[in-house]
Amino acid sequence: MLTAWLVLAETTAHASVAPYKTWTFAALLVLTLALLASEKVHKTVLVLLSALFCLLLAEAWHLLPHPEGDHHLPVYISMIEWEVIGIVIGATVFVEIAARSGLFTWISIKVLKASGGDPFRLLILFSILTAIFSAFLDNITAMIIIGSLTIVSCRKLEFDPKPFLITEGIMTNVGGLLTLISSIPNIIIGKTADISYMSFVFVAVPYTIVAIAVSMIVARMIFGRAVSPIRDPEARARNQALVAAFDEWETVDSKWYFYSSAVAVVLVILGFALKAQIPILNQFGIEVVAMMAAAIMMLLHARDVEHALDDVEWSLVFFFVGLFIIIGVMATAGVLLEIGRVLSWVTAAGGAYGAVVLMWLTAIFSSVTDNIPLAAMLAKIFGPTAQAAAEVPAAQWWAVVFGANLGGNITPIGSASTVVAVTIMKKNKLKITFLEFVRIGAIFALVQLVLASGYLLILQRVL
């Protein structure tokens, strides 16, 4: 399965890299990933330093290509995937301004009211909402909005918020599968594999719906009485009155801001979905839609421009810059080629289940380390060039997408949203240990990964 791209990948690596050089860079990569997982040093600083060191060492060992002529970019600039950075910046600015309009808090309260204050309905509705929000917002913002409302509403309803927060943290990762821009691994893989927004949605939505439904059954079994429907009519009436008393408009400062943001969100989603059909726009990448969305929002809400730009996760942007340089150097030094060989052997050993094996490996790695470098590295390994990427079977790309997104559910540090869920619990003095989370998260992840395995096998036949 991987032989075609291996041939192409060899062309990316420097023609005659001495094995000791490749192994030195491999050791540097392992060290960087280990330090990333340990979280001892800020990840952006670590990656930038590592990128700088890799660049200097590669230059010293004459591994970096230096094209002839006047019109070329420095080698480290061309290593950076600017499309990914464009999407991240554009989407963050757009989401920041839209989130300030109160649109998402308004929807959240409406959903809370629709639950009627029943724990099981609340769990289901908040889980679906978390998944949908994380499809259109970033996972952290989605978790912060829903998590905060969960705390406040559970306080009023006298529910234990822990089962809700854990499930929501997990659901953000499931929702992260929904669209091409729902999570960074999706953006990276989608860009490399040249998957369109709508193709992504068509494949991801059926799985996500089934995964959410099954996860709700799992949640009901794990959390038992804490999320059981209320039978007592008096208690039901009381809870209904409590949630009905929430005022969704209280979270909206300006109705103009609110309605214009709602229209802009719809238009932007349509823009992402229909980009391929829109003349001129179809000549550009999805990052252009993201930047346009940000520009429209800044134009509509000029007052919030400075705040929104301040809230762009610049540390994440610089993290990407460093990460892409490291991966570029690793490709040049032949490290990715070696990893590819190992992966090729492993997936080949899996036979018809090669993609499934790849997904499980990706998930296990994602549970203990950042899924972004993993996705970026796998994207570079499988698709060093557009031609190589086109040769890779679609199921293999989806294996990485499923593994990278769902693996984060196994541990509390596996994804940013589960970290936020745990932070909310700690802030509210709700005790949860690492193992306690793993005991619950692993069951969810296991069920979701088993479902994804079956789905991958179907995809292998269909795509």
Binding site: T105, I109, I140, T141, I144, I145, G147, S148, L149, I151, V152, S153, K156, R238, A241, L242, A245, F246, D247, E248, W249, E250, T251, S254, K255, W256, D311, V420, T423, I424, K427
Partner: protein, 279 residues
């Protein structure tokens, strides 16, 4: 940054939830009855007796000097002296009879009494056929001041089972006009902002009233609420003209501070057909 965002969103949602009002019944253990030689004297005594029976209260009677007074009554020579006596007596509720006709010399200066005594004051100006009638149907006029929470304790305590209690919250149009005029000079308000201000006041009022109704879930009566925008005095008067109410409750004190709005001051003086409870 996450911690800050979490805090911000949590506060936002807390604000969106209606206030949980802790409305407690007042014991009404001590009643002060001020009879001033008016046709309503008999009724004020009868109302006090009814309340004393319901709450097991003790009644102290206060009578102006020069009038026939029972032996146990305390005699006062001026409103200032009465205020001093009422303060010493630490009454939970003061019941006063006053003349029904305007322009008549009043034996007690109501304004001084209202500003001088912390306890709520129930003013009767007309004879009542049934001393329990004020507590069958109550109109509570509100001005949206969230510090009025303690005020609900009195109408909630006084209302009889099955009583009708209407919370009428009037957003004072005159006040909005004043704010608009003032802000227009600074350029800080336009038509859109004004509409938004009114909308905010409506929503705050609605939340507040729903909070009160929610707090009354276990009461033997069902409170209703209505939100109006307009001049307060005219709106309340119009509602009273329906003839359905036996008592008008108006706000006065805010956590022990003597505060009274112009509208409430007016209502206290012009409403004479039904008893007025100034909280």
């Amino acid at each position: 940054m996450r911690e800050r965002a979490l805090q911000e969103f949590e506060s936002l949602f807390e604000r969106a939830a209606i206030p949980v009002l802790d409305i407690r019944h007042v014991p009404l253990g001590r009643l002060a009855v001020v009879v001033t030689g008016t046709p309503a004297d008999e009724s004020v005594v009868a109302v006090a007796s009814t309340l004393a029976e319901r709450f097991g209260s003790t009644c102290t009677r206060y009578v102006p000097a020069g009038q026939d007074a029972p032996d146990e009554a305390t005699v006062f020579h001026s409103t200032a002296e009465l205020i001093g006596q009422l303060r010493l007596g630490r009454a939970d509720l003061v019941l006063v009879s006053l003349p029904s006709e305007s322009g008549t010399d009043e034996p007690v200066d109501l304004d001084d009494l209202v500003f001088g005594v912390a306890a709520p004051i129930l003013v009767l100006r007309k004879r009542l056929l049934d001393p329990r009638s004020p507590f069958h149907s109550i109109l509570h006029s509100l001005n949206g001041n969230f510090r009025q929470t303690r005020n609900f304790s009195y109408p909630f305590s006084l209302a009889l089972p099955e009583a009708r209690l209407l919370l009428l919250h009037t957003i004072d149009q005159d006040e909005i006009s004043d704010v608009r005029e003032a802000l227009r000079y600074t350029g800080e308000i336009d038509a859109q902002a004004e509409e938004q201000l009114l909308d905010e006041l409506r929503r705050h009022g609605e939340r507040y009233l729903r909070g009160v109704v929610e707090a009354a879930r276990d009461e033997p009566f069902v409170p209703h609420y209505r939100l109006e925008v307009g001049p307060v005095v005219a709106t309340v008067k119009q509602e009273l003209e329906s003839g359905r109410y036996g008592l008008l409750v108006i706000g006065r004190h805010a956590e022990g501070l003597s505060e009274i709005s112009a509208a409430e001051y007016q209502l206290m003086h012009i409403v004479r057909d039904v008893p007025v409870l100034a909280l």
